[in-house]
Amino acid sequence: MSEKDDRFSQAFKEILSGGLTRTLLAIILGFLVGALFMIVSNKEFIEALGYFFSRPADAFAAAWNVVANGYGALFRGAIFNADADSFEKAIRPITETLRLGAPLIAAGLGIGLTFRVGLFNIGGTGQLIFGMIFATWVATRLELPFVIHMLVAVIAGILGATFLGALVGYLKARTGAHEVILTIMFNYVAISIFTFLMRDPNLLQEERATGNPKADPAAETALLPKIFGDEFSVHFGLIFALVAVVVYWWLMERSTIGYRLRMVGHNPDAAESAGVNVKRTYVIAMALSAAFVGVAAGNQALGTSIGVIPSSHANIGFDAITVALLGGSSAPGILLAGLLFGAFKAGGPSMQVIGISPEVLGIVQAAIVLFIAAPPLIRALFRLPKPQTTNALAAIRDRFFRKGGAK
């Protein structure tokens, strides 16, 4: 083997062993697992299985059909609809993906931040709800001029979420209680408070919604404006999410604050000896994390012209965990992961239309992250080489895709 070949195979090995390859393989595996579920739950396939030995081709055809139709519908619903009669309608799916991905990205950044500090924020839902309470209050009970009203409402949402995050951080720092339990409990508390507020017209309830918990719609002036005109529903929430990505990148990779956050995440003892107040860092980290979740809260509260209801949190707080894990807690990773899971949300209804339950995407989502969670598993499955570090590729990767992971 010549030296050049050798170097090539070395580089190839490194690409294979890297996080990016592993992530792609996990995504592919996830889709395969989803396909499996679609196949075994498909009636035609089960029928064909009954006479499998006489005409096996039927079973394979049925299996292929259901998978192709299912993922085809997902593509049409989430990326590009080639059957549409106008160009606007054809590209509407991708704009839907952007719209639904935006809050996942913002909340994913929040959860990713805690992973890098060695914390687990399972409380995205509660923080999101607190943010929505504040944002909805500003949007429905204050009268302010256009743009300013919207900005104030978004900031209120961020502050509301931050408040709850900081509270959890404070309680953890002060008493040593585990943040996982605290955040889970606060999720339930938050949803109860939210529902209570939406039951009383003096608080947030819409006048006409007798008895049912439903909030007043946000004032026109507070709604997030549409980006591409009324034809597309994607709104400024996307811009805020993209700004959040840049802020997150700067914070974690370039700033001294992020440096200390990462330090505490990797080795709190060393951080303590280096003069970092670890407890205060936990409070700051939970607050910052919730602030990013708050951006998603603004998106949920101000992105729709009908009033919010208790389920408007849309499980984003939980989905954000998978987004952060898939994105490796890095800014670009979370951006891409949020878009992927946003596409799942956008494409679900089209699958429903052709009779495949979009719940299968939940399985795909879980399977992907499960494979991501155990790098040795993927390596074992595909006989990938062990990770190698010292070289330029690794340096570049380190720079942009710095793996946070929770230690």
Binding site: F196, F318, V364, A367, P376
Partner: protein, 415 residues
């Protein structure tokens, strides 16, 4: 080393107790509604009939509050002497509080004691099984956030298999074994692939929700009659014992799943603390390397305890469907698994105290339903919130310093 221990017992417990005492004496007592309340000790069908206890609600509030304040004073004296308040004192404190709350809610009405206690037990059973799964897993050092998923899997399998095979026995067996297999994923990822256990747990919950939702949507919804119509287990009355006043109807007139729980909890306690299996399990959770050096296979011990814990949770799932609801519903666990986790921590990783904490949650669920009937003015959202707030206060105030198994969430890697 100097043997002088200089630990300070804090004043958190007395402070919390005193404030609760004041709330009771003020709101339930002096500011409470005038009227009588009847505590019905017997049901109409019971063999032995006890007369209901009728008492003035305001008086009850004042007396209870005063007793609670007295206990708070006792607790303060203990704290001053650097002693902890014994658990049984706290338990009595809680009981008095509960009685005063019931009396206040049902002023001018009656409190069906047996009904409330019995239903609380039935509702607590899935939580108890879930927390047992947590105890079994965490005592060997594997964090189990996936209880929710294990319960859901068990609930689904119990409903579907019981319907298809028309056999509850098979339903329970499948519920337990499927949840056990599901737990094996957690065990394998944690032990073999050294994955972050909390992450795996969270993801497994998402997976269980995804799979059951998908199958529910794809199959059960259309063909519920043939797939999701198990009904519930028969109520078994244990002769003689079920005639004991108050206790009889609560403990000895139940479905099989409740009896399983009543057996499983003391059994687990015995195995965990009195047998060599338990000693080894706890050793693995505290100091795996030390366990390894005396020839205990750490990986295998962890694997089987986590797996059997899953089977426990599977039984808890069965208790949800064929033990209570009579059918599987989308995401029907609704957070019970997380409550079980909280209960396990509140109970300090001990089967019996954890079960008592689970009863508290069961009680709060039935209280919400019942309170809505007897005094509709109470905002139900706040009652819903109570157990979670109690958990937060407990975790923050009392359990913060309690010791989890030392090697919890740490993978064990041999050289």
């Amino acid at each position: 080393m100097n043997p002088l221990v200089e630990e300070k017992v804090g004043f958190k417990a007395p402070i919390v107790m005193a404030s609760l005492g004041f709330v009771v004496i003020l709101f339930f007592g002096f500011l409470g509604k005038e009227g009588d309340v009847a505590f019905q000790l017997s049901r109409r069908q019971d063999v032995i009939q006890l007369d209901p206890i009728i008492i003035n609600a305001v008086l009850l509030g004042i007396v209870s509050g005063a007793l609670m304040l007295l206990i708070a004073v006792f607790s303060t004296i203990q704290a001053v002497q650097n002693k902890r308040t014994p658990v049984w004192v706290s338990a009595i404190f809680g009981l008095i509080g509960v009685i005063s709350l019931l009396g206040w809610l049902a002023t001018g009405n009656s409190v069906p004691v047996a009904f409330i206690a019995g239903t609380a037990l039935v509702l607590a059973v899935p939580i108890i099984f879930g927390s047992m799964a947590g105890v079994m897993s965490e005592r060997v050092g594997v964090t189990n956030i996936a209880i929710e998923g294990q319960l859901l899997t068990g609930a689904f399998m119990a409903a579907v298999v019981s319907t298809i095979t028309k056999s509850y026995t098979l339903g329970i067996i499948f519920a337990m074994s499927t949840a056990a297999i599901f737990s094996m994923i957690l065990a394998t990822f944690a032990i073999k692939y050294l994955a972050q256990q909390i992450i795996v747990g969270v993801v497994l919950n998402v997976l269980a929700i995804g799979v059951t939702n998908f199958l529910f949507q794809q199959w059960l919804k259309e063909d519920g009659e043939n797939l999701n119509f198990p009904g519930t287990l028969d109520v078994i009355r244990i002769p003689v014992l079920s005639d004991i006043p108050i206790l009889g109807p609560v403990l000895f007139e139940n479905r099989l799943t409740v009896y399983f729980a009543l057996i499983a909890v003391p059994l687990l306690w015995f195995v965990m603390f009195k047998t060599k299996l338990g000693l080894r399990a706890r050793a693995v959770g505290e100091h795996p390397l030390a366990a390894d050096t005396v020839g205990i296979n750490v990986g295998r011990t962890r694997f089987w305890w986590v797996t059997l814990g899953g089977a426990m949770a599977g039984l808890g799932g069965a208790a949800l469907t064929i033990g209570n609801a009579g059918a599987f519903g989308r995401e029907m666990t609704g957070g019970i698994g997380f409550i079980a986790l909280a209960v396990m921590i509140l109970g300090r990783w001990h089967p019996i105290t954890a079960s008592l904490a689970a009863l508290l949650f069961g009680f709060s669920i039935i209280l919400r339903v019942w309170a809505n009937q007897v005094s509709p003015g109470i905002p139900s959202d706040f009652i819903t919130m109570v157990p979670y707030v109690v958990t937060i206060i407990a975790v923050v105030g009392f359990v913060g310093r309690s010791r989890a198994p030392k090697a919890l969430a740490q993978p064990y890697v041999k050289g």
